[in-house]
């Protein structure tokens, strides 16, 4: 008993421990402050937070959940890239092999369900923020950043939807991407775009309209797969990561987690 306590002391006071956790057990206010200030991850937080900000019943913890799910997606997604090739001949068999033989192919399940959960979490987050009117000054800008993040989340999920390259995937994307066809003035079936002509050559056609730009072809095909893969694994995550940094920083600068102004 006592020895255990001694051991604990030993560890906590050892140089190694101290070198990592600058302060010992933060049991004095000063240490508590240092604990937060002294760590890269924690210092996103202010030293002190408004009580309601800690309260589940108030925040529903949805923002944090979204962020955590983003991390989950990053890790599992990264692992999946080991066993996945974004080409029309191998995409499907590779996914199949994740189920049939790959060790811990369950990562795919986690990735997919995580994606669904993230979309929901982000919505609820927005819902809550609106219900507490937390978009009002001085938080207008952060609300906008949030909206963009919401859109990015949807795009992430959308681009990822194609990658298994099964019937579910391509038809969902076909239906989803066909809307771009109707972009006014930019899609080959959009209003007015029929009027954009050179002589009697239509300038906007299936080969060069908004949808083409999105899927890199007249119909879903190899280039779509590759494009979505790149968007899904590089472009959007980077953008989202960057905006998240801003988002968090602003949360703190704008007076902590919501709360009355």
């Amino acid at each position: 008993m006592a020895n255990l306590r001694k051991l604990q002391e030993e560890i906590v006071n050892s140089q190694i421990w101290k070198s990592i956790f600058r302060v010992g057990i933060p049991n004095t206010n000063r240490k508590r402050v240092l604990a937060v200030l002294g760590s890269l991850i924690l210092h996103l937080h202010p030293v002190k937070v408004r009580r309601s900000g800690v309260r589940m019943s108030y925040t529903w913890c949805m923002g944090g959940t979204s962020f955590f799910l983003f991390l989950v997606e990053t890790v599992t997604g990264l692992l999946l890239m080991f066993y996945y090739r974004p080409t029309i001949e191998y995409a499907y068999p590779d996914i199949m092999d994740l189920r049939e033989q790959a060790p811990f192919g369950i990562m795919r399940e986690m990735h997919r369900w995580g994606a669904h959960a993230m979309v929901i979490a982000v919505w609820l987050h927005m819902f809550r923020v609106f219900m507490t009117g937390s978009y009002k000054p001085p938080r207008e800008f952060n609300w906008n950043v949030g909206v963009v993040l919401l859109v990015l989340t949807l795009l992430l999920s959308f681009t990822g939807y194609l990658l298994p390259w099964d019937q579910l995937a391509i038809w969902a994307i076909t239906v989803g991407s066909n809307m771009a066809r109707a972009t006014p003035g930019a899609g080959n079936e959009g209003p007015m775009s029929g009027l954009i002509k050179l002589g009697d050559v239509r300038l906007i056609h299936a080969g060069d309209d908004a949808r083409f730009a999105l899927i890199g072809g007249r119909s879903i095909g190899p280039s779509t797969l590759l494009r979505f893969y790149v968007l899904h694994c590089m472009a959007i995550p980077l953008a989202a990561g960057f905006l998240m940094a801003i988002h968090f920083w602003r949360v703190r600068k704008d007076g902590g987690i919501s709360g009355p102004m």
Binding site: R32, V36, L42, H45, V47, R50, R51, S52, G53, W60, C61, G64, T65, F68, L69, I88, R99, I106, E109, M110, W113, H116, I120, W123, L124, M126, F127, F130, M131, T132, G133, K136, E140, W143, N144, V147, L154, P164, W165, D166, Q167, I170, W171, A172, T174, V175, G176, N178, M179, A180, A182, G187, E189, P191, M192, G194, I220, S258, P260, M261
Partner: protein, 407 residues
């Protein structure tokens, strides 16, 4: 048993359930505004509406169902009164709903759809939304009562209570992470991610659905052309969301749950978010079957089901049906009425500014007012078009295929 199922099948038909939800929605949300007098007055209005439905129902069966349910709900709500908010009644109703959902799982057809791995999260979302709406409104209600009694909202009381991030916040966060991880793992073990046969460009599955979070849009596509439902409206949704902080200048209700202080914002937002977005997603997921036909929750998705989907344009209604003459060749003339209608609709804001919305106009000032009402009108165009479709099979108000311009 089967009667209940049929009842629900009919009731959940997009047209009925949508009208029901929209009307009852107002009642539920604005409930905590009512003091006795107002309640009786408005309640009377609602009852009148219900009676109307019943009468119509004598001729059209679905409407009868609608009317009956409508009355039931009204009765329940009126009876519950404020207890919906200040006691856990709402929660109980949710739990009951959950129980009913679980019970429905015994029905083969229901199970087939609801138990699809990809649909599970959406089912979960229904309840999360319900729960959080309730939480929010309840807290709003409590705060409002406090403020009515001259107090201050709960959040304010502790607004200057500060806690140390370490350990309080950090600790809670860690716990959340751990628990979430557990949830994710168990979910993944319990449900296999779906994998269908290899992509095949030549045979499309029936129904071919977009990812579930876009099913709202896909549902809109039934009523609007792609360029509106698929491009313009989504853009406006995003723009609208971003514009909110700049349009809504109401300084109160900032950082705490309150309803009284933000009736309009909340009303509109909830309607848009719950009814126009979430509800449409749920319909698109659970109630749209092969050939995008509508199926009640207990119906079998029969690919051979046939439903007449004949629609007419406004121009046809007016020129052919009313005036009994052929459609004019020139589209400007042909679509004259439609164009006038649309322009008229978009021209409403100034009229409203001097009319009912005068108060807003003065409070917000022209730019805010116009942007706001413009967005609002666009939002409302969806339900309006839906109702028009159901009532008159109206396809297009303006139909200029010459330039793909259809409204």
């Amino acid at each position: 048993m089967t009667f209940i199922k049929d009842f629900i099948n009919v009731l959940s038909a997009a047209s009925i359930s949508f009208v029901l939800l929209s009307s009852v929605f107002a009642f539920i949300v604005y409930f905590n505004l009512f003091d006795g007098k107002l309640k009786s007055k408005i309640g009377g209005g609602f009852i009148g509406f219900g009676a109307l439905l019943i009468v119509a129902g004598l001729f059209i069966k679905p409407l009868l169902y609608l009317g009956i349910t409508y009355f039931l709900i009204m009765f329940v709500l009126a009876h519950l009164g404020g207890r919906l908010w200040d006691h856990k009644t709402g929660l109980w109703m949710l739990i009951l709903g959950g129980g009913f959902f679980a019970l429905s799982m015994l029905d083969g057809n229901f199970y087939l759809i609801a138990a699809k791995p990809d649909n599970v999260p959406i089912a979960a979302m229904i309840f999360l939304l319900g729960f959080f709406t309730w939480v929010a409104l309840r807290k709003a209600y409590l705060n409002d009562r406090q403020m009515l009694a001259g107090g201050i909202p709960w959040e304010k009381t502790e607004s200057d209570e500060k806690l140390f991030t370490w350990p309080d916040l950090v600790y809670t966060e860690m716990l959340c992470m751990i628990i979430l991880t557990i949830v994710m793992i168990i979910w993944s073990v319990a449900l296999r991610a779906p994998l269908e046969e290899a992509a095949n460009p030549t045979s499309s599955p029936n129904p071919a659905k977009a990812p579930w979070y876009f099913l709202g849009l896909q549902e809109m596509l039934v009523y609007f052309d792609p360029w509106l439902a698929g491009v313009v409206l989504p853009t406006l949704i995003i723009v609208g969301l971003m514009a909110i902080p700049y349009i809504d200048t109401n300084p109160r209700g900032n950082g705490y749950y309150s309803f009284r202080e933000r009736k309009w914002e909340l009303g509109i937002f909830l309607y848009g978010f719950l009814v126009l977005w979430s509800f449409l997603i749920i319909t698109g997921t659970f109630l749209r079957g092969p050939n995008w036909n509508f199926f009640g929750p207990y119906e079998y998705w029969d690919p051979n089901k046939l439903v007449p989907l004949v629609n007419v344009d406004l121009s046809e209604i007016i020129w052919v049906k009313m005036l009994g003459m052929p459609l004019p060749k020139l589209w400007v003339i042909r679509e004259m009425f439609g164009i006038i209608f649309v322009l008229g609709y978009l021209g409403l804001p100034p009229l409203l500014a001097i009319g009912p919305f005068r108060r807003f106009y003065q409070k917000m000032g022209p730019p805010r007012y116009y942007v706001g009402t413009f967005l609002f009108l666009f939002m409302m165009s969806l339900p309006i078009k839906m109702v028009l479709r159901w009532l008159f099979n109206l396809k297009y108000i303006v139909h200029i295929q010459e330039i793909f311009f259809n409204v």
